[in-house]
Amino acid sequence: MPKIKMPKNSPSIDMTPMVDLAFLLVTFFMLISQFRAEEAAIIDMPSSVSDLKIPDKDMMMILVDKEDHVFYTITGQEIRATVLEAMSKKYGVKFDEEQIKEFSNMSSFGVPMKEMPAYLSAGSTERKKIQEKSSGIPSDSVNCELCDWVFYGRINAPRFRVAIKGDQVSSYPTIRRVMDILQDKKVNKFNLITNMESGPAE
């Protein structure tokens, strides 16, 4: 058999496809990602077989973390500003323009009203510290700020869906208290946010 003459020159790797790939990945992630507002609390939700999806907007959410601290958030910048102003009037806590703007762009928070101006003016590391020290939004019968957040949220956004996002180890009495507050404000239909779980094996 005739000997196949192997080319003696050693080809170098052409890097163009790799650069193309990198370019594509960057473009993909640039187009796909939207900035996610920093959540005040890390919550490990339990899973459920339910397959209803929660919408991204038009929602009011009450979050309960591992230590039974209560957080609150509501979507919509103008709604947030209106709710904050209503709360400010009720509790006599003043906010300036910048703080209101900061609040409108924020996501969930869990500080009582009197710590709110400091919280809003603080930078992000300081905010984390304030958050760690505080014990969430008060929801006890003596001082129920959560009741008012829910109330003003409902008044200004009656069509919004209400959801509870709890951690796996949050104690039931706290969740019960949140549900009682909601029932009090005539919110009888709400959602519990969970992770996806496939149904039982056949």
Binding site: L21, S47, S48, S50, S170, Q183, K186, F190, M196
Partner: protein
């Protein structure tokens, strides 16, 4: 392609003389690998949907008591008490202080635990679990539309209302949120139509304390 130089050994002769190092001048052409990467990337871009968290729906009754609360027959009422350490107790009927306390049976959240009980009890009453499972399968194969399914289930539950299984979920103060969500999940999995989320009363707390001492 690969150009490997192997020194030919002639019958165990020691290699001497031509001290040629085994120079493997392999030059692999990278183009197919990059093509594969490209293909995988396109595949995943087109097929992945981000795993959004799901929502469970809860309907609670009005806080004010209604005029005529529905009377439920005790023999069909299953009380499930959720307590700490993922322990579940259940009993049928009502806990009446004047009579002997019903005994609590212990179970758990696994498939053999509360799910087995619920499916068995639901099937005892008009074969409800099996019937609804059958309809669910028909929806997935396309024989039934979603609206027809909902209508059928509604009618079925209504006709058998007075003798269907009713579950009262009673998480006590030591249970956690996961327990409650798991219990509500089991309601959906076992096709239990009538259930309520209530609190344990003192009698039940006593029963649990007694059961825990054993």
């Amino acid at each position: 392609m690969a150009d490997v130089n192997t020194g030919d050994e002639g019958g165990g002769k020691k290699k001497h003389g031509k001290k040629r190092a085994k120079k493997t001048s392999t030059r692999i052409d990278m183009t197919p690998m990059v093509d594969l990467g490209f293909l995988l990337l396109t595949f995943f871009i087109l097929t992945t949907t981000f795993n959004k968290p799901q929502a469970m729906e809860i309907n609670m009754p009005d806080k004010e008591p209604t005029e005529n609360p529905t009377r439920v027959p005790a023999v069909h009422t299953l009380n499930i008490i959720l307590t700490d350490k993922n322990v579940v107790y259940w009993y049928f009927g009502i806990a009446d202080p004047s009579k002997a306390l019903p005994s609590l049976t212990k179970t758990n959240y696994s498939q053999n635990g509360i799910r087995k009980l619920l499916i068995a009890e639901n099937n005892e009453r008009h074969n409800m679990y099996n019937q609804i499972e059958l309809w669910k399968k028909e929806v997935s194969t396309g024989k039934l539309t979603n609206d027809e399914y909902r209508e059928k289930v509604k009618v079925y539950r209504k006709t058998n209302q007075m003798s269907s299984l009713i579950v009262l979920l009673k998480p006590d103060k030591d249970s956690n949120y996961k327990n409650v969500v798991d219990a509500l999940d089991e309601m959906a999995i076992c096709n239990v139509g009538s259930y309520a989320l209530l609190e344990t009363n003192d009698l039940e707390n006593q029963m649990v304390a007694n059961a825990n001492t054993f």
